[in-house]
């Protein structure tokens, strides 16, 4: 019997499969995914900005990682910004930079990340501009790998290979996989000039382009996403580097995870609306036709998949629970006489086939993502891989659902 829930699910399956197939075609069209390992021979002045808001635990290791970069020290301008921290961030930075007089320090009341970066943009002297979130750490060779991407004059931004830093629990290990898959897709998106977001940690920009575009949007929840969309709108090239490694802390508990995702998705939603004129606009190429619509569509898919899964999966059980009232809630009779007569033929084969296809494609993509990121699939264990494949999409769907009341009631987010 065809129900509305079934129709919605089939549309979701089709769209999801279409996107995956589309990007796999891009993968098979391009042989060299990783690209040559180039190291810079020229050393232009680079400004590295570390904006921090209550980051007392991670700010010093972040600064240390920048100081240990394999790059001429006189070509590196480091600016730390304390954006109205209420913890010991300011005190710790001041103490630390006593030994590094060249590090610049700005402290002001809480004005937001976008405004803080704009402040830095005005005073920094570098030809290139990098923001490193204070919860992230950079590999010593990262900058050497990133700079050669700008030999192509049309490149305005290069993204590092951002990995989750030292995942400890299952949630962080799942995110480790997710980050690698994202990098793989971003690399493919880069081939079609479709990268939708340059992450906060260590994405490098031509400063002249940032200035030309008027800097960051100071009232934006996800200023990095907004900046990327601005670059796309103005047809600048963004590339994903597969050698420059950056490590970022990921949420260690489910509350922090949902908080982070809500912020990202809310930013995605509002920026998608802000740049709606790019959507389905052939002037913006594949980015307008497939990538930007996906930014909005992913939310609709996430919400629909949760509701339809809950509806189709739980409806019979809810009905049975309600029916218990007719037998004085005597569920022990059912429990003591439980019997299952499930055979292979009882499977819903159409759904099963699509599920198997999606599963194989997901395993293939996961394998490619690990391989191209120079990681071994089972290095972090096996359970998180299974959880990532089977349940992670549900968690993302839940994030979208949790976001709904905030969007409806215009709740304000802080970084």
């Amino acid at each position: 019997m065809i129900t509305l829930a079934n129709i919605i699910l089939w549309i979701i399956y089709f769209i999801s499969l279409y996107f995956v197939v589309f990007w796999l075609l891009v993968f098979f069209e391009n042989e060299d995914i990783v690209g040559p390992k180039k190291k810079s021979t020229k050393f232009p002045l680079v400004s590295v900005i570390l904006p921090a808001h209550n980051e007392e635990k991670t700010i010093i290791p972040s600064v240390k990682s920048v100081l240990s970069l394999n790059y001429p020290k006189d070509k590196l301008e480091i600016i730390i910004i304390d954006d109205g921290s209420t913890d010991n961030t300011k005190k710790m930075v001041l103490e630390f930079i006593k030994n590094y007089p060249k590090i610049k320090f700005i402290s002001h009341e809480n004005i937001g990340k976008g405004a803080s970066l704009n402040k830095a943009l005005k005073i920094c002297k570098g030809e290139f501009f990098i923001c490193l979130d204070a919860d992230s750490f950079v590999h010593k060779d990262a900058l050497l790998h990133l700079i050669p991407n700008f030999n192509d004059k049309s490149v305005a931004c290069a993204l590092p290979l951002m990995k989750a830093s030292k995942p400890k629990n299952i949630l962080q290990k799942i995110q480790f996989s997710e980050y690698l898959v994202n990098i793989f897709y971003k690399k493919l998106m880069g081939f079609l000039h479709c990268i939708p977001v340059a992450p906060g940690p260590f994405s490098i920009y031509r400063k002249s382009v940032l200035l030309k575009l008027g800097g960051y949007d100071e009232n934006n929840l996800t200023e990095d996403l907004e900046m990327t969309l601005k670059l796309q709108k103005n047809h600048y090239k963004i590339v994903q580097d597969m050698h420059a490694q950056v490590f970022t802390n990921t949420p260690a508990n489910i509350k922090a995870f949902f908080r982070q995702r809500k912020r990202w998705y809310k930013g995605g939603l509002f920026n998608g609306i802000k740049y709606r004129r790019l959507m389905f606009n052939p002037k913006y190429g594949d980015f307008g036709i497939i990538q930007l619509p996906m930014l909005i569509l992913s939310g609709i898919i996430g919400i629909s998949i949760i509701f339809t899964t809950l509806y189709t999966g739980l409806k019979p059980h809810v009905q049975n629970l309600l029916n218990l009232r007719y037998v004085n809630f005597d569920f022990f009779t059912f429990l003591k006489d439980l019997s299952f007569s499930f055979t292979f033929l009882d499977l819903n084969f159409n759904t099963f086939f699509i599920f198997i296809c999606m599963l194989f494609i997901s395993i293939f993509v996961l394998y490619l993502s690990y391989t191209f990121s120079n990681e071994k699939v089972f290095n972090q264990g096996k359970i998180h891989i299974a959880l990532f494949l089977f349940f992670y999409f549900l968690m993302l769907g839940v994030s979208w659902i949790l976001l709904l009341p905030e969007v409806i009631f215009h709740k304000k987010h802080v970084w």
């Binding site: 499969l17 589309f22 891009v26 980015f287 036709i289 007719y326 037998v327 033929l345 819903n348 159409n350």
Partner: protein, 231 residues
């Protein structure tokens, strides 16, 4: 100016569509497997029925009443297997795309088996003096009969409570092609759903557990725990 390679979009659409069509074909192939499976089950059940029928005739003719408990067990087991097949048949029929006719044919076969067992159970009670109550349960689809799922739940519960002492015969009143079902519907004037026929007595609409107990407990001579407060 950015360019779009339309061919890539079309190719992705073709591959995705191909996977979907292949999935649909796979579903159809498996549908024929389901038909074969139910057919095989029906054959087995027909044999079981004939075997049981012979045993009753044997007792009837030779007066071998000491074999009664063994046959009651067999009757109950066959009915459980029949009910299992009914549930699978109903689910397969709901999913069916091309084999609706085959499934309906098999459903007729199932209904006839049910009715055969119903008659056999009546004979069993006469012959072996068994403590068994029988319920004919006429149901229809969710649209016509929104309370049928509740009624089925209550009957399943009572079956779990009473085991061999209660025999439920679920009959889908929608099956218009089976004339013997029409005969029963006509005999008991079945117009509304759910309707229960508990040992000849008709109950229309959703019948509660307590009302069913009131009726079936009349057929148990020895003490049955669930009937203690009723009798």
């Amino acid at each position: 100016m950015r360019t779009i390679k339309k061919r890539r979009y079309v190719f992705a659409l073709l591959i995705t569509s191909f996977i979907f069509v292949f999935g649909l074909m796979f579903g159809i192939v498996m549908e024929t497997q389901r038909v074969d499976f139910i057919q095989q089950k029906s054959e087995e059940q027909r044999l079981d029925y004939r075997g049981l029928q012979f045993q009753y005739q044997f007792i009837d003719l030779l007066g071998e009443e000491n074999n009664c408990p063994f046959m009651e067990k067999a009757l109950n087991k066959n009915l459980e297997s029949l009910e299992e097949t009914r549930i699978k048949l109903t689910n397969y029929n709901e999913d069916a795309k091309l084999s609706k006719d085959e499934f309906e044919y098999l459903y007729r076969d199932y209904v006839l088996s049910q009715l055969g067992y119903w008659l056999l159970s009546k004979k069993s009670r006469d012959l072996c003096d068994t403590e068994v109550a029988t319920i004919l349960y006429f149901f229809s689809n969710e649209k016509i009969c929104p309370e049928c799922s509740e009624q089925a739940f209550i009957l399943t519960y009572l079956k779990k409570r009473f085991g061999d002492k209660l025999l439920n015969f679920a009959l889908n009143a929608e099956l218009e092609t089976e004339k013997s079902l029409d005969l029963l519907k006509h005999t008991y004037s079945i117009n509304t759903f759910p309707t229960l026929i508990i040992e000849g007595k008709k109950f229309e609409g959703l019948t509660s557990k307590d009302n069913i107990l009131l009726e079936i407990c009349k057929f148990y001579n020895s003490s049955v725990l669930d009937c203690k407060n009723i009798n």
